[in-house]
Point group: C2
Chain length 298, copies 2
DNA sequence: GTTATGCTATTCATTATTGAATGGATAAAA
DNA sequence: TTTTATCCATTCAATAATGAATAGCATAAC
């Protein structure tokens, strides 16, 4: 085996990749939990050892040279292999303790998960939970999360999934709003009302059109992409809005608006990586999520 | 990104793979140029961080657990990516100095390369040469060599190759042997002579059979796989033997035995990895080998 | 122009890592 | 059995790597 290959410290490549990704020593340092001088030294050592120039030193940061760009691909392949390795390792943990990261939508994280997690903590005090609220999908391969609770069918490969059931949606308004504007009568009447909608997400519009109701972005008086904040807007009386019926019906201030047409249902999927499935603590949290979410997916 | 993934030092994986490959801390230490306690600590750190058991401690060394075996594949993928990276880096070196590893057959390394390398050193004193004599083929992907001089067409992918010409073979015997046994007359007469052959390598037998001459392993009085030692056996008068004519004819003690049938020719191929082709020092050594080998491939 | 911000390079005390040495344990060879 | 050769774990002095602090730049905003 070549001397260079054997003696070159792999952690230098780790640093190289971090600097290449973040574009600066400082950024890479933050990502790796190291300091900026350390990263600077790592890059210099790497360049000196390989006798090549990997970055152009710029006042605003480090920029890859063409050669560095060529090397980056290989470093990324190393990172992927490392991710796979780390996944196998996590799946091999045998004790019923440790951290479990649960990714789910902002809305669920706000309105559903706290109760479930509180119960989990009582039953499994040795399992610490990281809750990752996010409406963009996580990459479970890179362990951005261990278990994801999602409102759509996961499409990543090597995943174990379970469809827990469906969440029914309803249209709601606050009493204050209804006192002011009255309740809508039928689909056409919606045009005379304020509706709270999503901003960049066009789910509502597409669903309404699918129902045969003309809809456009302009019909929304107030828009918000964060679903928790969205719901607070509706509760504050900004207009009509949609919400999971199981949550909204518990709120005495909110009134459900009966609709002539049925709203779509949201499927609830539990997901984890195949390699993690046999880890006791992941399996346990999976089980508790399965049970805990049941009341919400009637 | 997961904390474990980001914070786990990749050099620990490097150590893990070395221990998995060699089966011992000491062996891994030798391979990595580190010490046995260091490797021991690395493995322990890795196991503690990932909270898994990777090896079974045995008195004779370390043995992978099933989980460790699963992880090994990923570690190997990392090593492959690392090899690719290191190759790109080596190809990106811009100076006409450094080390170049030349792999070639034991015989060539003994009888041909020294002169060529001596001349190289005069013309390019800043290029240091590692000569790797080996009759098994090198893996240029892992940079076991930078340039290989081979007697067969290389089959690895991503390789740059050049057919320099062919080497002609002849049958020779020492004067001492001929004085004792006389020269053979024709192919049938070979049975009354001692022939020095290869041991596990059956090239000679296959070639003779291809020529229509009945041959078997038993016809060899003395056998040796190392071709340099083989030739010394022939020179010492152990029997008839084959050799490159260009080399053998320079030896006043050796007499060529004229044969009625033609012997096969050996092709000479120069090989390097695609990624290294544009490195100035590799290109320079390639060029000098091309020129230097010319007299031998008439 | 001036200020604020974000970055890199350098220094130096601190900390963490390393390896030589040692002891103990096991398996193979004499 | 005794010897020999490996191997691993542990210890501790020496070494190497680290990060906080600082200074110096370049850019962007005012």
């Amino acid at each position: 085996m070549d001397k260079t290959l054997a003696s070159l410290d792999w952690s230098l490549i780790q640093s190289f990749l971090a600097v290449a990704d973040t574009g600066s020593l400082s950024g890479a340092a933050r990502r790796l939990g190291a300091s900026q001088p350390t990263l600077g030294r790592h890059i210099r050592t790497l360049e000196n050892t390989l006798k090549v120039e990997l970055f152009q030193r710029h006042a605003r940061g480090f920029q890859l040279t063409p050669l560095g760009r060529e090397m980056r691909g290989h470093a990324e392949r190393m990172a992927e292999a490392m991710a796979g390795l780390s996944l196998v390792a996590a799946g091999g943990e045998t004790r019923l303790e440790g951290d479990v990261r649960i990714a789910t939508s902002v809305f669920m994280a706000h309105h559903v998960m706290p109760g479930i997690i509180a119960q989990m903590r009582q039953q499994e005090p040795d399992i610490r939970i990281d809750l990752v609220p996010s409406d963009s999908s996580e990459n479970l391969l890179f362990r951005e999360a261990d278990i994801a609770v999602r409102m759509y069918r996961p499409e990543q490969l090597d995943m174990v999934t379970k469809h827990l059931g469906d969440i029914s949606l309803g249209m709601f308004a606050s009493r204050a709003y209804l006192d002011r504007k009255g309740a809508p009568r039928g689909a056409e009447d919606l045009h005379h009302h304020d509706v709270v909608g999503y901003d960049s997400n066009d789910d509502i519009i597409r669903e309404m059109r699918a129902m045969g109701i003309p809809a456009s972005r302009e019909m929304f008086a107030v828009r918000c992409d964060n679903q928790s904040a969205y719901w607070e807007l509706v509760r504050a009386g900004c207009g009509l809005g949609f919400c999971q019926t199981n949550i909204a019906r518990k709120d005495p201030e909110m009134v459900e608006i009966p609709l002539a047409f049925p709203l779509p249902h949201l499927p609830v999927w539990l997901t984890t990586h195949e390699a993690l499935r046999h880890s006791p603590r992941i399996a346990r949290v999976w089980e508790l999520l399965d049970v805990g979410l049941r009341p919400f997916v009637s």
